[in-house]
Symmetry: C2
Subunit: 104 residues, 2 copies
DNA sequence: CGGTATACATCATATTACGAGGTATATTGT
DNA sequence: ACAATATACCTCGTAATATGATGTATACCG
């Protein structure tokens, strides 16, 4: 998939991945794999950004000797998901423009 | 509209804007305005990039004393539009993931 | 004659995705 | 016992990109 197109949905995908249930980095990547490939370096960058913008909060735990950081979505993050759905409508209009056939 | 989301469609929008009929910078901006706002600096950057990647070719003309550069889409550019339609299908799957409601 | 529209262009900056590399433990295969 | 793989985190440098600010020049309208 085109890199640029991907960028617009990456943040939101990560939020969607933790929306129903808290999750952690490694799991998020695996959960998203079927629909969207993203590297670890990309994910951790995104997670940090989402934390800074208060879309999620972090809770560090220890699980079987390894560190595990659980991410939990905030109301701000949920709002971001809602906003995205509206942006999606605009995007549909743009697509209609791109896709429109000329009947000449 | 979210900047990131926009990025993925900018190039394709410009290609779509010249698909049926050759056009020039100033006109492209006005034509796209109803569906997508973009500044001149952004457009000229995009046009240059699209030219470098052979998606379009340029023909400079003089129109009423002013320089006017007409952009014409190439087969490569048309192919890019086709590829985008396939990418759009992937994007629809991603949206389905983001939008999915949890019935608990 | 001043403002607005037309029409091009460049530069600096901020944001971003990602590969490459690093650390450390647990599990599985041979 | 040892190697490989999976799990799980992190940082740094780089390349690509959108955009505001700025500049140049002509045409038209009041």
């Amino acid at each position: 998939m085109d890199a640029q197109l991907k960028k617009g949905v990456l943040d939101v995908c990560v939020l969607a991945a933790i929306k129903d249930e808290d999750s952690y980095g490694y799991k998020i990547i695996k959960d998203l794999k079927p629909i969207l490939e993203l590297s670890e370096s990309t994910l951790y960058t995104i997670l940090k950004r989402l934390e800074e913008s208060r879309m999620l909060v972090v809770r560090s735990t220890e699980f079987e000797g390894r560190l595990r950081k659980y991410y939990h979505i905030t109301p701000t993050g949920l709002q971001r998901l809602e906003d995205f759905k509206n942006e999606w409508k605009e995007l549909m209009d743009i697509y209609a423009f791109i896709d429109k056939e000329d009947y000449h």
